[in-house]
């Protein structure tokens, strides 16, 4: 089996994913082309240098529709002989793109790929692509569909995480992100510039100083839809009759922010690197993807981690650093308590609660963050994992070479 290596990884800063966000003026296709161009420039990729561009993107309608991956290639300076494929594994799309690239290399179907993803949530709102899972009565009832926020609250209720636990995690995420930004730890980050080269956004713009007291004042976001209209808690309690009720602990401050952003990773074989004179930064050790209970939905990181560890023949204790996507505080709390993990090893530079979660890009973003930190602190192994809508999970283990 051919090993797959990560040669480079970069990302844009994350902008607030609303019309008043700084990246709102930048089309998703240009945001994509920006990271593709920079990756090609830095690594001197010329001509038909990679097999494919595998591009994570969740809301594939409007300007993100019609195979945004190919559109981004054509928008960029890449050679037109490089195709593109848009993939949607919801929140893990960016990581899934890397995993698919690595696994094709390992299987001998191409020696190099650009993998990553993009999401302009300010321009193409989440959910604007519809979806049978929520609207088709047969499926919605069969799968006990509830929105992710309700699922996050079910996790908190089931495993006994309090509002205070969740808020404390959120405060810490903000603190860590601020320190990381101030110390310039995000080496993979490149500025977003306009067509004239003028800077638009240079740093993640959603980080804010907060405190447990500030967060305590926020109203829960999913209580109304859970308890009143349309009453998702009823559905949740039908599936989990052992719960007395659903405790609604999540709010805007302890959930991931809606964001715009893009990220790209150059994955290739050893031979590819040698031919292009590139030095690998890390090896992809193992990948995993799992399906889980779709109602509680966001518990995937635990089985995905167990599965990727098994695939790698490793123990949890073998991993030096973790990135667990902060979709909601309870997702990370679940991971921490299940593995009894050391919080000093998990999301050490903050996460999506502080910096935002541009759906299709986040998987690749956290992988770059993980790699940056492994290099900065000279650690060997890292694991990135995300929970995924409709009850899935994905994970990747990398090691420095």
């Amino acid at each position: 089996m051919t090993d797959a290596y990560i040669y480079d990884a970069l990302r844009t800063p994350r902008g607030k994913g609303k019309p008043d966000g700084t990246l709102h003026q930048v089309p998703a296709v240009r945001l994509s082309a920006l990271v593709l161009n920079e990756l090609a420039r830095r690594n001197q990729l010329e001509g038909h240098a990679v097999e494919d561009v595998i591009w994570g993107n969740v809301t594939q309608v409007g300007e993100q529709g019609a195979c945004l991956a190919r559109a981004a290639v054509l928008y960029s300076d890449l050679d037109e002989r490089i195709p593109g494929v848009s993939i949607n594994r919801f929140c893990a799309s960016g990581l899934e793109a890397v995993n698919m690239a690595a696994n094709q290399i390992r299987g001998g179907a191409g020696e190099a790929f650009i993998a990553g993803g993009v999401e302009s949530m300010s321009r193409v709102p989440m959910g604007s692509d519809g979806g049978a899972i929520a609207a088709d009565p047969f499926l919605a009832m069969k799968s006990y569909f509830v929105p992710q926020g309700i699922s996050a609250d079910i996790i908190a209720t089931t495993f006994g995480f309090s509002r205070e636990d969740a808020d404390a995690l959120a405060v810490e995420s903000q603190r860590r992100a601020k320190v990381a930004t101030e110390e310039g730890r995000f080496k993979s980050q490149i500025p977003v510039t306009d067509i004239n080269g003028l800077p638009i956004l240079e740093h993640d713009e959603m980080i804010r100083e907060t405190s447990a007291e500030t967060l305590a004042a926020l109203n829960p976001s999913f209580k109304q839809m859970g308890e009143v209209m349309p009453g998702f808690d009823q559905v949740a309690l039908m599936k989990y009759p052992e719960l007395e009720r659903v405790e609604h602990i999540h709010h805007a401050g302890n959930s991931s922010g809606i964001a715009d952003g893009a990220a790209a990773v150059l994955v290739g074989s050893k031979a590819f690197g040698e031919r292009h004179g590139l030095k690998p930064r890390a090896r992809v050790v193992a990948t995993s993807r799992v399906g889980t209970d779709p109602t509680i939905m966001l518990t995937g990181p635990v089985p995905a981690t167990e599965r990727v560890l098994a695939a790698a023949g490793m123990q949890f204790s073998d991993i030096d650093l973790f990135e667990v996507n902060e979709a909601f505080a309870s997702v990370v709390l679940r991971f921490l308590t299940h593995f009894n993990a050391d919080t000093a090893k998990v999301n050490v530079n903050g996460g999506a609660i502080a910096m935002g979660h541009p759906l299709g890009a986040t998987g690749a973003i956290i992988l770059s963050t993980l790699l940056d930190e492994m290099e900065r602190t000279d650690r060997e192994t890292g694991l990135a994992t995300l929970c995924i809508g409709s009850g899935m999970g994905a994970a990747t283990i990398i090691e420095r070479v």
Binding site: A134, A135, P137, A140, F145, P230, Q234, P241, E242
Partner: protein, 732 residues
């Protein structure tokens, strides 16, 4: 004689009259459909006919599909029932679609003949689906009901009503009529968009014909057949429609607890149909409808809630050969909550009432209850001042037993004490005529014992009402050891007069309904004592389709009543009393002063306004949650079997003599999972073999109260079903 006849007038308008011979209300049969089809063909093919009015020869339009046919459809078609039902439904669509398109050109939509519906009165089920396919609906200004109540018997509108109403009103606006079976009187139906015109009854036909003669091509074209049609409120994948459909699935799921397949199928037909053309949508509707017709729950619901309920109301178990026993004047002894309710429903049925209590104030208060009830009705537009006056005029509130003179029925609803009851029985009989029947409304005391106080035990009977009387539709009639046939006929005829549903059972402790519901409640409480999460008990019951869990039910009827019944039962049973572990919980709650909802404290906590909150935390402090919690299905089997086995024992012991009564009584009496059709239907659905298996497992784990009754074991071995072994039609 035909159901449909066509007659064309000199104006060239054909009048198609629906008039099923020998029936008080039209119902649609296969034969009727074929006749209608032939009429439509004649209208469309005869050049001298300009258009048609479809109306009725009765004061109503139609009550719906003949459910007897529908119920038998599944069994009648050999080989491939799904194919048979689907093709049958598609033929029906073909006929209605022919009316809707009326010969117009497929592209230009021109050249069709106007066909309108003229509804003289009630139009339900296919009686409204047929008009929906017409080009205009005229309704006479009456108090008739218009709508699609199919969902109430486990079906949904399957003759295009679902597809047409959603396309007419939008999914959200159509929901109350499709999902709840809501019906409206003509004026309100017009406001809601269900009918087009409401006219004076005398002008119905003239106005309808007038419209036919003046209709243009454009008037005939249905919006959904016109180019650029958009569904009101939005199709599923539009910004407005998406949340509607997402919310609908959640609400239907939450409300039906997953046990009513018809509601789910309806919603799927609506959703899938909304995404395709009208003709494709009809096919989709037919596919889901077929699935529901073939679903055992719809068959069971139709059988119990429509056919058998109707049969019992029409006197299916009335003793033969006894002349009409209709009540003219009823005496009610005791003007408490039950007595007042009995007086009210009797007076509303036009029966003269003498309401007696020991004190005049109490008697007056009983009558005042009727007054406030009628006032509420007036404020809600459901009653009139005249009706109130007439009702109250029929009630005489007094302390004087002499006023009972002339009563042909007396019902006592005094304190549940044999001594008190004996006293009022004797006092009444002194005044009563020789033929009068004396009934007791006891819920706990054996009828045969109470009958000892009567000088004529053959005319003594139990008529057990459920509380609140005006809301609960079941009446349990109890035959004492010496009760005669005329007394039973009297009770049945009276129940028919007050428009409730009777069951007749023999005399045994707690009769039928309470006999079954008490073990259900006790099993729930027992589990709390064992450390099963109280909310798990409640949720398990809800997921079986019970309206409330056993703990909430106990709170509603009050903890002290539970204590009282337990003490009385214990006294009567002595050593054999099996519910000491239940009493540990109930007596403790009573000691804490938590008497249930009325006290604002029970198994549940209540807020200052009396609104129920969660389970009272003190309950799980006293009875801590066990380490190992049972699976949902284990809890459900216990709750279900506790009452179902009691029903089987009641049948085995001869307390019940007709399984129809056991099923209908269970649903109406204590809300037994309506989707199942009742305890016997449920047992037939899972099979006696499976039931015995469950019993054996439960008996091993929880004791002899779950031992399979001999009858059930026998049936399991023989592979029998209740509705074949005890076939009421065969027995009759």
């Amino acid at each position: 004689m035909a159901d449909f006849t066509l007659k064309t007038g000199t104006d060239g308008v054909a009048v198609i009259t629906w008039d099923c011979p020998g029936k008080s209300m039209n119902v649609m049969s296969f034969e009727g459909l074929a006749e209608l089809d032939a009429c439509i063909d004649e209208v469309l093919s005869d050049d001298s006919i300009k258009g048609a009015v479809i109306t009725s020869g009765k004061d109503s339009f139609a009550g719906g599909m003949d459910l007897n046919i529908l119920a038998s459809l599944r069994d009648a078609i050999e080989g491939d029932p799904a194919k048979g039902v689907f093709e049958g439904v598609m033929r029906m669509h073909g006929i209605l679609r022919k009316i809707e398109r009326a010969g117009m050109d497929a592209k230009s939509h021109k050249g069709g003949k106007p066909i309108v519906a003229a509804l003289p009165g009630t139009a339900m089920g296919i009686g409204y689906e047929l008009p929906l396919a017409c080009h205009r609906i005229f309704a006479a200004e009456t108090k008739a009901k218009i709508g699609l109540p199919e969902i109430m018997v486990g079906l949904f509108p399957g003759a295009g009503g679902t597809t047409r109403l959603v396309r007419k009103l939008g999914a959200m606006a159509a929901a109350p009529y499709l999902l709840e079976g809501k019906t409206l009187a003509p004026a309100k139906a017009k406001a809601a968009g269900l009918v087009d015109e409401v006219v004076a009854p005398g002008e119905l036909l003239a106005k309808a014909k007038d419209w036919v003669l003046n209709a243009s091509d454009a008037d005939l074209l249905k919006p959904w057949d016109a180019k650029g049609y958009k569904m009101p409120g939005g199709a599923p994948y539009t910004p407005a429609g998406f949340p509607t459909f997402m919310g609908a699935a959640v609400m239907v799921h939450g409300k039906t607890k997953g046990v009513y397949p018809a509601a789910r199928a309806l919603l799927s037909a609506v959703y899938e149909g909304a995404l395709v053309s009208f003709d494709e949508a009809l096919k989709i509707e037919a596919r889901w409808f077929t699935k529901i017709v073939l679903d055992p729950t719809s068959g069971a619901m139709i059988r119990s809630l429509f056919l058998n309920k109707g049969a019992l109301e029409k006197g299916a178990v009335r003793p033969e050969g006894v002349e009409d026993q209709r009540v003219r004047k009823v005496g009610v002894l005791g003007a408490g909550m039950m007595g007042a309710g009995i007086a009210l429903v009797s007076a509303m049925a036009g029966i003269e009432v003498v309401l007696i209590d020991a004190r005049q104030e109490a008697a007056d208060k009983g009558k005042a209850y009727a007054e406030s009830y009628m006032d509420k009705g007036i404020s809600r537009g459901k009653a009139t001042a005249q009706k109130k006056e007439a009702t109250l005029a029929l009630i005489t509130a007094t302390t004087d037993y002499a006023a009972l003179e002339g009563c042909d029925l007396v019902i006592e609803a005094v304190f549940e004490d044999p001594g008190v009851k004996a006293e009022v029985t004797a006092k009444a009989e002194v005044v009563l005529g020789e033929d009068a029947i004396f009934a007791t409304n006891t819920s706990t005391l054996p009828i045969s014992d109470l009958a000892k106080a009567s000088a004529r035990p053959g005319q003594f009977i139990g008529i057990h009402f459920f509380s609140p009387v005006e809301k609960m539709n079941l009446v349990e009639i109890i035959r004492g050891r010496e009760t005669g046939d005329r007394a039973v006929a009297k009770a049945l005829d009276y129940v028919r007069q007050i428009r409730k549903t009777p069951i007749v059972v023999n005399d045994a402790r707690f009769f039928y309904a309470n006999r079954c519901i008490l073990p259900y409640i006790n099993e729930g409480i027992r589990m709390v004592g064992e450390g099963v999460a109280p909310w798990m008990v409640e949720h398990s019951a809800e997921l079986l389709g019970f309206p409330v869990g056993p703990l909430q039910l106990t709170d509603e009827v009050s903890i002290d009543l539970g204590v009282k019944i337990a003490k009385a039962t214990k006294a009567a049973m002595g050593e054999a009393y099996p519910d000491a572990d239940v009493d540990d919980v109930v007596f403790w709650l009573a000691d804490q002063g938590r008497m249930g909802r009325k006290a604002g404290a029970g198994f549940y906590a209540y807020d200052d306004k009396g609104k129920r909150q969660g389970i009272w935390p003190g309950l799980v402090e006293k009875f801590p949650l066990a380490e190992d919690q049972p699976e949902l299905v284990q809890v459900q089997h216990r709750l279900m079997m506790a009452q179902v086995l009691e029903a089987v024992r009641a049948l085995e012991e001869g307390v019940l003599t007709d399984i129809r009564e056991g099923d209908v009584g269970a649903i109406l009496g204590w809300g037994f999972a309506p989707w199942s059709g009742g305890p016997f239907s449920w047992l037939d659905m899972i099979g006696a073999g499976k039931a015995v298996e469950i019993c054996d497992r439960l008996e091993a784990a929880h004791g002899p109260r779950f031992a399979a009754p001999k009858l059930l074991r026998e049936m399991a071995e023989a592979g029998e079903r209740f509705y074949t072994r005890f076939d009421p039609a065969r027995a009759a």
